[in-house]
């Protein structure tokens, strides 16, 4: 993988969805440490964008800049069209930020914590009460609503932190390792919630190390390494599919006859046995058509799934740059 810092947009323009986050050439140093060294990224509204990078690559610093807490040494940032440096309040009103490490006021109840933040975002009290009840239900903390935050477990605090970031219905969500400390059930809930938020037209930027998780929820990915955006690309997991059939020969024969280009997958059982191929499919509609046509053609199809691990593959190429 080559390192490329060309000025081309990170994500190919996607008609209709305005960019929620635009970052151009952002650099930031802490003394001699260049934490950010030219970050370019675009995260689009209505999509979940994964922020992937090794430890110390600058993810958290980037999120601090995006959240309006740090001034970049150079470069420009736009959050829903607003500059967090020049027009902080306008950008912050539209940003929901969940840091990787945060505390809660231990003597306040979960409900009071959220009501306090609602007040801090100047949400009228009556509206805030409804909103807080709704959020507590969303993150499954309703039964803990009136218990002090100190009795919450780590995962529950994490969920409370997520609810806190959502209290003012932000257009742009910045989540730093939101899944850490969550049980499997909560991770699934988180994924569903982020999907829903994106579908509502919000921009979601998630940093995480759990790549399989990211892969399932992210539409786009931005890789950063040593403070730079590296080979930014749209995740193309949905375009390579793993197609398995009871008879490899029947599958390959049919694919060849319809003129599809395929690569061998699992061919261990020979042509007559069960086997699989890798196939480029344009999108979900393409996959549906493939199933329909294959079944119609009498191919004994058993499974059809996107190839997992594309993110992981990409991440591992960054591995050598870990510091």
């Amino acid at each position: 993988m080559s390192i490329d810092v060309a000025d081309t947009p990170v994500v190919p323009p996607d008609a209709g969805s305005p960019p929620g986050i635009v970052v151009r050439g952002v650099a930031r140093s802490f003394g001699p440490v260049r934490a950010l060294d030219g970050i370019d990224l675009e995260a689009r509204a209505g999509r979940v964008t994964a922020l992937v990078g090794p430890n110390g690559s600058g993810k958290t610093t980037l999120l601090l800049v995006l959240a309006g807490l740090l001034v970049p040494d150079a470069g420009t940032v736009r959050i829903a069209g607003h500059d967090p440096v020049a027009d902080g309040p306008a950008a912050r009103a539209r940003t929901g930020w969940m840091p990787d490490a945060f505390g809660t006021w231990d003597t306040l109840t979960a409900r009071q914590v959220l009501l306090t933040f609602a007040a801090a975002y100047r949400i009228p009290t009556a509206t805030a009460r409804l909103r807080v009840d709704e959020l507590l239900a969303t993150v499954h903390l309703t039964e803990y609503a009136d218990r002090p935050a100190s009795v919450l477990s780590r995962g529950q605090k994490q969920r409370l932190g997520l609810a806190r970031a959502l209290v003012h219905s932000p257009d742009v969500l910045l989540l730093d390792e939101p899944a850490s400390g969550l049980d499997p059930r909560s991770r699934v809930d988180l994924r569903v919630l982020l999907r829903r938020l994106a579908d509502e037209g919000r921009t979601v930027l998630v940093s995480s190390h759990v790549l399989s998780e990211l892969e399932e929820m992210a539409d786009d990915a931005v890789f950063i390494s040593r403070g730079r955006t590296v080979v930014p690309e749209t995740i193309t997991t949905s375009s390579t599919w793993h197609v398995r059939a009871l008879s490899l020969g029947a599958l390959t024969g049919w694919l060849t006859s319809v003129g599809a280009s395929w690569r061998p997958g699992d061919t261990s059982a020979g042509d007559e046995g069960p086997g699989s191929v890798l196939l480029e499919v344009a999108n979900d509609e393409g996959a549906a058509r493939l199933v329909r046509d294959a079944v119609a053609a009498g191919v004994p199809l058993t499974s059809l799934a996107p190839v997992a691990g594309a993110l992981e593959q990409a991440y591992l190429t960054l591995e050598e740059e870990r510091r």
Binding site: S2, A35, V71, V85, F102
Partner: protein, 371 residues
């Protein structure tokens, strides 16, 4: 690794640092202040420690007041009325304990939150830095005032001993409350300036100790350096006259050592104990029996320091009309200046805190993880 080809890379030519606008820093709304103050108070009041502290305070101040009232009787002091002495003692007790307790109320307000990871999440809301700082200040001041209010019964008790104008209690409470808000402001400033809570607490205590203890020490230590040999008018017995009822006295011009305390009086003027004594408004200046009123005595002594002694009375046995006017000394109050000085220190701390809370920040708070 192959060398990167710079051909496709358009390296930005030393980009201009982005323009930072913190125009909203000083925007203040009642709603914002109340939100922060409520949060701060909830955090503190919920911890029962705080209630315990109030009860302990009540017991300590009450106990000491009762002990004082047992000790300060007409028999032990030889005074006809121990009321003003009692009042002064209780006032100084409350002020002293208040100055001991108040620094802890704000000295960890900012760095404590930062360490607990709750500050940044508050900063990114629509609360302005001034609102966060004012809210914290207001909450701490309210807490300090709670201690003060709990002490009022004992001040009233001392009032019942007589000879103290009732209005003094109001003046004392107001002046002490304003001194305490200054201390709150100083603590807030240090808590925003220093990353460790222990450091900011020590610095706040040192500042308060400086105001209380260092100022009289400095005044004493600089005393020898303000001496001047100069001619003064001395009212003394005529040479050869006997020391009896009809001693003749006359004015003579002599060279004496005069301490020019008008240069250093302000060292005492900014001392919280002097400010309260001066501001309490107890017995009138010309009261002949002022020795029994500690607050009034301190007030008169410090006020007198502003005018050096240019006329000296050494005709001790003269019984006729004293030609020496009660020195035309400046009797104007000192406390407004002293209080203003303290409030300025508190305001400085507050401004430091607001500036440190302003985001986006150029510097990351020390101790915060990089990347």
């Amino acid at each position: 690794m192959t060398a990167m080809t710079p051909v496709t890379i358009s390296e930005p030519t030393t980009p201009e640092p982005p323009r930072v606008s913190r125009s909203g820093t000083w925007r203040v709304s009642w709603h914002g202040i109340r939100t922060v103050a409520q949060l701060e108070l909830r955090q503190r009041v919920r911890s029962t420690r705080w209630i315990v502290a109030l009860v302990v305070w009540f017991v300590v101040v009450g106990g000491l007041t009762l002990l004082l009232s047992g000790v300060l009787t007409q028999d032990t002091t030889g005074l006809s009325n121990t009321g003003p002495l009692m009042f002064g003692a209780v006032v100084y007790l409350v002020l002293g304990l208040g100055l001991l307790v108040t620094p802890t109320l704000t000295s960890t307000a900012v760095n404590g939150d930062r360490n607990a990871g709750t500050l940044a999440t508050l900063q990114v809301t629509l609360l302005s830095p001034a609102e966060i700082a004012l809210g914290k200040l207001a909450a701490a001041w309210l807490a300090a005032c709670a201690f003060l209010v709990v002490s009022i019964p004992f001040l009233v008790l001392a009032l019942f001993r007589g000879d103290t104008p009732a209005f003094s209690i109001v003046r004392v409470v107001v002046v002490v409350a304003l001194l305490l808000v200054s201390v709150c402001g100083i603590g807030l400033g240090f808590s925003a300036l220093v990353s460790r809570t222990a450091g900011s607490t020590v610095l706040t205590f040192l500042t308060v100790a400086g105001l209380v203890l260092l100022t009289p020490m400095l005044f004493g230590l600089t005393y020898p350096s303000i001496d001047r040999e100069q001619e003064v008018q001395v009212w003394l017995p005529v040479e050869g006259s006997t020391f009896d009822q009809d001693t003749e006295c006359e004015f003579q011009t002599q060279v004496r050592t005069v301490a020019h305390t008008e240069r250093t009086w302000w060292l005492l003027g900014i001392n919280p104990f002097v400010i309260v004594a001066d501001g309490a408004g107890t017995t009138a200046t010309s009261d002949d029996d002022s020795g029994r009123d500690p607050l009034g005595s301190i007030r008169d002594a410090v006020r007198g320091l502003r005018t050096p002694d240019t006329v000296v009375d050494e005709c001790y046995y003269y019984t006729g009309a004293d030609p020496i006017e009660p020195q035309g000394s400046d009797a104007s109050p000192i406390w407004p200046w002293g209080l203003a000085g303290n409030l300025a220190l508190g305001a400085a701390g507050f401004v430091v805190a607001v500036r440190r809370l302003a985001i986006p920040s150029r510097k990351l708070a020390r101790g915060t993880r990089v990347a």
